[in-house]
Every structure is written in C-alpha cells, then in structure tokens.
Symmetry: D3
Subunit: 131 residues, 6 copies
C-alpha cells in the first residue's frame, strides 16, 4: 500500500485531470500507472514531474530504448522496486529483447562489482581521465 | 591514496604481469589504469575481474557505447568517484559527444528523482507491469 | 516476513519487557510496532536503540516535526520500506499535512536529482563553501 | 576536477548566460557556484534544473531552513560530497546554528542506523501504518 | 513477481540444466533457489555468476561463516530484500546463532550511523590511515 | 576540509576532553583520529557515539577482526571514503593480512554484483528462506 492513497480518475482535481489527459494523449493509451495516481494529490508536483519526464525521455541525441535502459539501470542501483518493474516493462515495450535484457543485467552487475572494488580500494583517479 | 599501494610494472607478480599483458593487447595501448594496479596485489581477483569485464563489455546484443553509458550511470548512482571518471572517459572515447553526455545526465537525474518519489510514496506495482 | 520472528508480549524476556514498558509509557499508547518486536530477540540492542532514539528525537533545538521529516527523507534515500511507512505515519501524527507532505517529496526528489548530477559531473567544491 | 570543464562567465552561451543572470538576480549575489558552471555546457539542462530548484526551494508550506536541512540530509545519505558541502553552507546561511547542526547530524545518524536494522530484519510494515 | 519468469526444471535449456546440476552437486541438495531460476534465461550469465560465487565463497583465508556474514552485511547496506533473506538463511545454516546475529546487526547499525556522520562532516582522512 | 572545523586538544570543551581521555585510555594510544575531532563540537553526540562504539566493537560472540571486516564492508557499500580508510587501517591493525584483504574484497564485489542482479530481477523470496 502506498503512503498516499492512489487516486482514481473520479477523485482527481481538475489540474491533475489535465495532466492525466496529457499522459493519455502522449502515450496513446488510456492506462495511467500507479506512480501518477500517487503523485496526483499534489497537482503541481505531478505536472512538474510529468512535463520534465516528457522532455527528458523524448527524441534527442540518444535512442529512446537506450534512455529507457539507462533509466532502468539507475533504478536498480537505487533499489527502487516500483521503478525496476515499470522501466523493465517500458524497455520491453520499446524493443528490449531477451538477449539485450541479459546483457543489460550483466553490465549492471559488473558495474556494481567494480564500483564496490574501486570504492574499497579508494583508487586515485588517473591523470589520463582528467580532461 | 589507495588503501593498497598501486603496483608499478616492476612490482607485478608473473600472474599479474600476464593479466596486464592481456589488458594491453586487448586495448591496443600500453596504458594500464590505476584500478588494475590496485587490484594487482591479488592476481586471482585481478584475473577474474578482467576476464569477466572483457566478456561483459565485448561485442553482443548491445552497442559498446550503450554498455559504457549504462556502466557510467550505475557508477554515478553508486557514488563511485573513480568509476565515474574512468567510465566518462571511456564513453567519450567510444563516441559520446556533448549532446549525448547532456542527455545521459538528464536521464540519470530524472531517474534518481522519480526513484526517490516512488520509494517515498511506496507505490504498489501495477498488475500491468507484472509479466 | 522478518528474518527474525516478531515477538509477542508473552514471548519477551524480562529485559525486553522493561523496554516495551518504557516505549508504552513514553508514547502514552499500548501499541508497540513491529520494529521493536523484531529487535526484542536481543534485549541489549533493543535497549540501546530505544534509549538513543528517545534522546535524539526528544526536545531540543529542532522542532519534533522537522526531525521526523528529516528522518523520513533519510529513510527514503536509503530505500528502507519499513521506515518510510513508519516515519510517514509519525510525521503525519506530528502535524505534517498534505501540503507539507507534497513539499517534502519535492525537496527529496530535487535533492536526489542534483546529487546524481553533481556526482556525475564530479563538481569540485567551491572555496566559498569551505569554512 | 569535474568530468566536464567548469565554464567561466566568458565561455557561456547566451542561453546559459541568461540563466546565470537569473541565478544572480534571485540570490542577490554575483557568486555562481561550480555546480552551475559544470551544468552550463547544456543550457537546457541548466535551465530546467535551476527553474525547478527555484520553485521547490521557494516559499511554501515548509520553512526555507527546514527544506535546506532536508536537502542536506538526503545529500548525505546519497554520499554526494559536493552537495554536502554546498547545502551545509546554505543551511548555515539560512540560520542553522551549532546546536541545530548537531541535532541534524544526530537524526541523520539515527535514521541511517535504524534503516539498516529494519532492512536487515526485513520487518513487515504494521497494519497501523498503512493509511 | 520477478521481472523475468522463474524457470522450472522442465523449462531449462541444456546449458542452464548443467549449471543447476552443478549447484545441486556442490550443495548436496536438490533445492535450487529462485535467484538461479530467474537468471536461467541467460545461461552464460547464470554460469559466470555461479562459477564465480563458488570460488569466492569457497575455502580460503577467511572462514566460510565470516564470508557469509560479510555478504549479508553488504546486502543489507545495498537494500537487497532477496539477498538479505537468502544470506541470513545461509549464515544461519553455517552456524550463526542468535548472539552472533545480534552482534552482526549491531555492527551493521553502528557502521551505517558513523558512515552517515563521517559523510555529513566530510572528515578528511588522517595521514596515519594512508599506508 | 570538513564541514565543521577539526578541534585540536586545546579547543575541546571539558565534556569533549573527557571523551578524548577515554578514547586514549581505551586504545592505549595518544592518537585521536579526525572523526572524533569533527564530532567534538557536540559533546553529547561525541559521547553517545563513542560509548556505543565501545560496546558494539568490544568482546562478544564475534571475533574483533570479524567485526572490523564487517564494518569495512558496510562502509564500502555506503561509499564512505573516510570510513573505508579508517576501517581498512583498523582491520590491518587487528590482523587482516593480504590474503584476507583480497578475499574480503572478492566477497564485497560478489555481493554487490548479486545484490544488483537480484534487485534487477526482483526475485521473490523462496519460502524456504522464510523461517
């Protein structure tokens, strides 16, 4: 159970409703996931988060699937259960197949391991890496 | 300063030297960065880490630059100073330009923000995300 | 399920019972939450944790509600599900209303985002910030 | 050294210059700290981060000093060296005295300890905490 | 529910089956826990993880129970629910009794607290600690 | 530089001086490391932290070196630079040799990797692990 009740469509304020309308239009789907329903108690935070997400995850120099996999990797490192589920689903929807998923997991695992080793050893940064 | 002294080439055991030889051959460069010099006190750990890294970051279903950006994102989330420097340099070397770097930062920042919000709200996972 | 069974009042050692008595007297409530029931296997750890908590969260230079919101913010950043629930409830009980809750979430999200950006950029600390 | 060079005022693009102008006007000070100078390579990310920060940390239901202390607490939990320095300085500037600083540290330490204990024990959330 | 379906013995590829055979032989038990069933979609990652785990947790300079308690402590600090449960069970199976469990929890809690304090204070490393 | 100035012996309050006296007597050494010098601004927090540390790290069911290695492992996972240095030095002083250090690093690295994999896969806890 969330620390704030998930709002149904009927319980939304007009400001939150407007954001939900945009989520639906942007995604071309009637489904609005629980994250937004928990945020909807605070329409200003809901709008700011959604508007920023649209820009950050929108078209740009990086492929949308790459962005989604990076998002997932960060979510795993931050131990966010909800985000791990939602961004795995999103990456799958954007084309991540079994082989890509497996390699992504391997990179996340490898990075976590060497992050720990480098922190344990307190390795000084090579001059060559300082641009 | 590292918690274990960085070994110079002259101080390497034969087992560690063999790994350094492979690092140099694989990368086509004489430069061996400090991470390996700190690990070299323990040739078995050095070899296992390097051998695994070669496989994980080698050719596969994901583009090498994508893997490098995921590695960097995880390193940032884990607050690893060394890894953030080394993998930023590696991603740059593999083709990450200013625009891609900027977008990567934006995705990492966005994910960190919504990870915190989802954890704060303890949002229950939608049934739709459970495959 | 906890990694150690939650103890009922009937299962407490006399030492643990004495701590539970103090929790109830201090809070003016018969309710003792699960955290203490899991800790009660080790009366010395139970007592040390409770005694310290009483001091830290007691009257002082900071408002009790402020302390509770800081506690909640740290718990979110550390991805502690139990603590996020318990300290959200505690903050609510001490007067955190919907608007305050929304702003607290916004600050936690903002901090998490800029923490990630500053770590990703490895920004050197300004001389002006070094007192 | 940062992973991206800190930009001097002379090196700013017009878009980044406009954000710096607003930072200076809002704060009533000519000083612009390194975080913004590292972000300035990407004027869109710079603007989005600054604009959001202004809103989140601006007047509202929570006291500005409370917001600053929450920001600091999250930065500590996320092991962000830069943010810990900058937000300690900011909290001091907004009125955090020695006694408040000491209590803030005590709460952060206490929360970190019980977060670890609750995670180690995997304590199930009490029904009473589920609103 | 996992982000990848847990594979039953009947669903394993021959490569994954071979790893499961070795897990069973090594442990002298028919039970294969869910972690391996989720990894089994990617036999190469499954094998690499299992082979490395066998080496790392095998006989050496540190007692097997000590390794298990260190593993558990890291899992708690990384907020891994699954690993906290599985390595608590493993440590119990290797001889961790109630008193040892209690002391382990106390050390984890103490370290988490002073980690936060040291990070909050940004304490410079003493020359005496730099070998 | 620390966020609070490190206090010299001459700058200590009588209450802080008394704690320093006990640190010196307990350790049988005149050296008091920077952590305590930064905490000494707040004698109550200084005393509470030191008194608790003495109990937690004192004789008990676990070997002092084991406790020190667990402390180090948690410090690495929490990305605490200061604590990683100080507890590596402490573990060395208590008998951790090169081989033990190497194995400890390997366990920390392995745990960090499988923590990430288990979180990425959101593996459900086996019934067998729930006592």
């Amino acid at each position: 159970m969330a620390t704030r009740a998930l709002l149904t469509d009927e319980e939304l304020s007009p400001e939150a409703q407007a954001v939900f309308d945009d989520i639906r239009a942007t995604r071309g789907s009637d489904f609005v996931n629980n994250f937004w329903r928990a945020l909807a108690h605070d329409p200003a935070l809901l709008r700011a988060t959604w508007e920023r997400l649209k820009v950050v995850m929108g078209p740009g120099a990086l492929d949308p699937l790459v962005k989604e996999m990076v998002y997932l990797a960060v979510s795993v490192a931050n131990a966010c259960e909800y985000c791990t589920h939602s961004h795995t689903a999103a990456a799958r929807a954007k084309g991540m197949d079994d082989a890509m998923h497996g390699e992504l997991l391997a990179v996340i695992g490898m990075a976590s391991q060497t992050n720990a080793l480098a922190n344990a050893l307190q390795v000084p940064v090579d001059e060559a890496f300082r641009a």
